[in-house]
């Protein structure tokens, strides 16, 4: 309310920003799944049959009531058991 008067940010809005960031990072670390590394290794095995794989990244995402696993596979054009090109 007095931002313009004193050039000072209200502490409630500082609290809001800090909390939003802290809670986002808390939630990320809670979503580390226990079977993550095993699952990554298996995905690498499957994908490697067709194309080369450099890295696999799995994230648990929550959008409202919906929970999803987002899996990013970074390809490596030089590898792969059954090369496409």
């Amino acid at each position: 309310m007095f931002d313009w008067l004193f050039g000072k940010k209200e502490s409630a809005s500082i609290a809001k920003d800090r909390l939003t960031i802290a809670i986002m990072s808390d939630r990320d670390s809670m979503n580390e799944l226990p079977f993550m590394s095993e699952m990554k290794a298996e995905i690498v095995e499957v994908v490697k049959k067709y194309v080369g794989v450099r890295a696999v990244d799995i994230k648990k995402e929550i959008h409202g009531d919906l929970e999803a696993l987002s899996i990013d596979v970074e390809l490596d054009s030089t590898g792969g058991d059954n090369k496409l090109n």
Partner: protein, 270 residues
């Protein structure tokens, strides 16, 4: 078959036990058969808030271990005959609880009461997990303050993963009570707004309770503040209890009060 509600917070000292006592009594005043159970083993307090500390003979651990019958351990409130109370054990620690025994006790209580309210210990350890495990719904109590809100989010996360209902593919209902709101501080930008807290926690609002000296006065006497008709916190708990009993009670915006600075400011612009 009644509904089982766990009252949780994550952080201690935010008013969880006070909320449990007042909602229990409020529900009883609405002529529903209600029992409040203190799950805070080793730090028994609900008996003091209810003014029943001298009547505790047996506790819930003795009931779970078969050393006492449930009927022997349940205390009937002097204030309202619909309100019942089961005390925590003071001599043991939180680790004595076992899932199987908690499940049996909760099932028995659900058979006999319309509302079963479990007062959780603070923290997110095993005592907390046992409290939420078999609950149908949870009431999360926070203060408009960063540490309380952050801890509440952690507690909600554990609720969402450890609750039996969630494991069965159902949803556990979650409602927020924001306690100790200072209208003056919200108005001057020194305290988080309810709207912001709800957005951060992504949860439904059950009610707002203002900061009120009457709360300590009530706990001094062992008479829940809901009995004090003049107290703003008491009035807030009356509204919340009404909502829990299925009444449509409008959300009173206690953040816009006509006191202090805000009143003066409004006066200036008249």
């Amino acid at each position: 078959m009644g509904i089982v509600i766990a009252v949780i917070s994550g952080k201690g000292g935010v008013g969880k036990t006070t909320a449990t006592a007042n909602l229990g009594l409020g529900i009883a005043i609405n002529e529903k058969n209600c029992i409040v159970v203190d799950f805070d083993i080793g730090q028994r307090n609900l008996d003091m808030i209810l003014g029943l500390e001298n009547r505790v003979v047996y506790d819930l651990v003795q009931v779970m271990d078969g050393e006492a019958k449930l009927k022997q351990a349940i205390i009937k409130s002097k204030v309202n005959e619909n309100l019942h109370f089961l005390a925590a054990s003071q001599s043991k620690d939180k680790t004595v609880l076992e899932s199987k025994k908690v499940k049996k006790l909760v099932a028995e209580l659900r058979e006999s009461y319309d509302y079963v309210i479990l007062d959780s210990p603070a923290g997110i350890e095993s005592g907390f997990e046992h409290t939420i495990e078999f609950a149908d719904a949870a009431i999360i109590v926070v203060n408009p303050e960063v540490s309380s809100i952050r801890d509440a989010d952690r507690a909600i996360g554990i609720l969402d993963s450890k609750s039996q209902k969630v494991k069965n593919g159902e949803e556990v209902a979650k409602y927020l009570i924001i306690n100790r709101i200072s209208a003056e501080m919200v108005q001057s930008g020194e305290m988080l707004k309810s709207e912001d807290i709800l957005n951060i926690l992504n949860i439904k609002l059950l009610g707002k309770v203002p900061e009120d000296r009457g709360v300590i006065d009530a706990s001094n006497q062992g008479k829940p503040v809901i009995l004090n008709k003049k107290s703003y916190a008491g009035q807030a708990y009356t509204r919340i209890a009404g909502r829990l009993c299925g009444q449509k009670v409008d959300m009173k915006d206690i953040e816009i009060s006509d006191t202090g600075l805000f009143k003066k400011l409004k006066g200036m612009f008249k």
